[in-house]
Amino acid sequence: MNTPRLTVATAWLDGCSGCHMSLLDMDQRLIELSERIDIVYSPLVDAKALPERVDVGLLEGSISNADDLALARRFREHCRVLVSLGDCAVNGNVPAMRNHFPLEQVLARAYRENVTLQPQLPERGVPALRQRVVPIHGEVAVDVFVPGCPPSAEAIWQVLTALLEGRDPDPSAVTRFGA
C-alpha cells in the first residue's frame, strides 16, 4: 500500500486518560494503524517535543489550568487537523462540574476542609487552575468533535481512518455524548 503515513500527536489535558485507553483498546487494528500513522508526540511515546508540523492532533480532556491552555494552543498551532477526543474535550463533562462553584470554594474543599494534616494550597510546581473549565473549542478552533466517555475504540478507528483516507469523519454515526 502506498497510502501516505499520517503523523499524529496526542495529549490529555483535564481528563482521566480513558480516551487514550480507548485508543489502545483497538486490539489487532493497532498493528494496522501503526502501519499507517506515526505517533510523533504523546503520553504513550517518548518524544519530548511537539514537531513543527503534525497532520492530526488528538486532545483529550478539558482546559482547566494554565498548562492545559498552553498545550491546546501549541496543538492548534502545530496540527493541521485538531480533534477534540471525548466528552471532556467536547463539552467539559465531569471536570466542568466544578463550574457550579467559585474556584476558591473548590480549592478550599479539596485542600483545606477535607485535610487533617497541614492544610495548604499547592502552589509550587503545579499549574494554576483557571476560574472556569472550558471545552477545547472554548479557547482554540477545533476541526473534529468525537464525543463519548470514552469514545469507543471503534469510533476512534472510524474517525482516524476517515482522516487517513481524506474523508470528512462523521462522529455522530459512531458515537454520542456519554457513550
Binding site: D87, N91, G92, V94, N99, H100, R132, F145, R176, G178
Partner: protein, 243 residues
C-alpha cells in the same frame, strides 16, 4: 328505539409529505400521521396519549407556500397541503435547538442514570450534534431527593412538561406544575414544596416513566440503569377518552 349515537362526520383529506401521497382524517395532526407512516420527526415534548404542548419546537416542518415553519404536533392536516420534514433549514434549526437545550443546564451524560436511555441524548446523536457552539450556562439547579422512591434533578430537566400533563390528565392528581419564568423556570410539586411533602402525589411514578431525560428517575439507580417504560400511556389515555 333510538339507534346508536351517530358519529360526527369526519372527512378524509389527502396531502403530500416529502413527496409521499398520504391521506388521513382531517382531525389528525401532522405528527400523528408522520409517526403512523414512519416518517421520522424529532420531538421531546410531544408524547402520544398526552395533550399537545408545542414547547420544544423540534417537530417544526416546512409547509410549501407558507413562510413560517409549523409545529407538526399542533398542526392539523389540510387537503392539498405539501409538507417537508427534512430540509437543510430544518436540520440546522433542530441542531441549534438541541445545542441550546444542552447548554441551558448541566446535562452531563456520562454520569447520568439515564445514559443510553435518554431521548435528548439520542436526539442529539440523530441530529448530528457532536458539540455545543454556545458556552454552557454555569448555573446549578437543586436536586430533590426527598421522595422515598423517586428523585428530581432540575439540572437535567428540559421543561417539556410531560410530567405535568401526565399527572394532571392521566393520573388526575395535578401534583406537578411549572413555576417562574425564563431561566428561573422549573417544575414544582404542589406549592413548590419538597416532593416528599406533597399531599397530592400518589407515588404512581407515571411522571418518572414519561420524563424523556434523567430529570425524573427512580431512587437507587446508578449510571445508565434508568430504563423507562411508557407502554402504559396510550392504553390509559384511550380508557380516559369519553365514549
Amino acid at each position: 328505539m333510538p339507534g346508536p349515537a351517530s358519529q360526527p362526520k369526519v372527512r378524509v383529506v389527502t396531502f403530500r409529505v416529502d413527496d409521499q401521497d398520504l391521506s388521513a382524517r382531517e382531525d389528525e395532526t401532522l405528527i400523528e400521521v408522520c409517526r403512523e407512516h414512519r416518517i421520522p420527526i424529532p420531538s421531546l415534548c410531544y408524547l402520544e396519549g398526552l395533550s399537545v404542548w408545542g414547547g420544544c419546537r423540534l417537530c417544526m416542518v416546512e409547509i410549501v407556500g407558507q413562510p413560517r415553519l409549523a409545529a407538526a404536533c399542533s398542526t392539523r392536516v389540510i387537503e392539498g397541503m405539501e409538507v417537508r420534514t427534512d430540509t437543510e433549514r430544518l436540520r440546522r434549526y433542530r441542531r441549534i435547538l438541541v445545542e441550546l437545550l444542552f447548554a441551558e443546564r448541566a446535562h452531563v451524560c456520562s454520569v447520568c442514570v439515564s445514559n443510553g436511555h435518554c431521548e435528548l441524548q439520542t436526539l442529539a446523536q440523530r441530529c448530528g450534534v457532536d458539540h455545543m457552539r454556545m458556552p454552557r450556562r454555569p448555573v446549578s439547579y437543586p436536586v430533590d431527593s426527598s421522595h422515598e422512591m423517586f428523585r428530581l434533578d432540575h439540572d437535567r430537566c428540559i421543561l417539556c412538561t410531560r410530567c405535568v400533563r401526565v399527572c394532571d390528565e392521566i393520573e388526575g392528581a395535578h401534583t406537578w406544575d411549572v413555576m417562574g419564568r425564563g431561566s428561573d423556570c422549573r417544575v414544582i410539586t404542589d406549592m413548590a414544596q419538597p416532593w416528599a411533602e406533597s399531599e397530592t402525589c400518589t407515588s404512581c411514578g407515571k411522571c418518572v416513566q414519561v420524563c424523556p431525560t434523567g430529570a425524573l428517575v427512580k431512587q437507587g439507580t446508578s449510571v445508565g440503569e434508568m430504563v423507562k417504560d411508557q407502554h402504559f400511556l396510550p392504553i390509559l389515555a384511550r380508557r380516559r377518552q369519553p365514549r
